[in-house]
Subunit: 101 residues, 2 copies
């Protein structure tokens, strides 16, 4: 799998708006054939920080995601909400194998 | 869910041993009723770094995990393999809800 963890620090006044915009994006993203999971997590102790856990079946699945209307709407909607540029790290799965997603 | 991302930097000479020990632990961990997922990820560009994505149904599930023989064996086995103390961050799920795991 082609797995991306995206770290986002949101301006305090946009926490709820970011949350709603990202849920809307995730709800559409999980319908994409190239996406196995699309999770939105929040640290227990840092309510203005979010992590997106994006699990694509292949790197191409990510490229296809970026062509979707829901991704582009999300990207444009949240641009002003971020306190700093978001960062991401790309992983591959050691366990479980691809059948585990 | 009670989700923990654990970051581990392994000494280069222990990468394969850490990988094997952690797969063995994960294979047992996913059988625990308190655990929904237990993933081992590796960054594309940093082969001595690993991330464990541990998804517990409750905080109690994590406490129970730490009582298991497989966890304690893993903890003791990998202690000398780490280049620095491992770090972890605890999250809750915004999307999907608990039924999504």
């Amino acid at each position: 799998m082609f797995i991306v963890h995206v770290q986002v620090q949101v301006k305090p006044e946009f926490v709820e708006a970011f949350r709603q915009a990202t849920i809307a994006n995730a709800q559409q993203s999980v319908k994409e054939p190239g996406i196995a999971r699309f999770d939105l997590l929040q640290p227990a102790e840092a309510p203005a920080h979010f992590v997106l856990v994006e699990v694509y079946r292949t790197a191409e699945g990510r490229a296809q995601h970026r062509e979707t209307a829901h991704y582009q709407t999300w990207r444009d909607t949240v641009a002003e909400m971020m306190a700093e540029p978001r960062t991401s790290v790309t992983y591959t799965n050691i366990f479980p194998g691809d059948e585990g997603w």
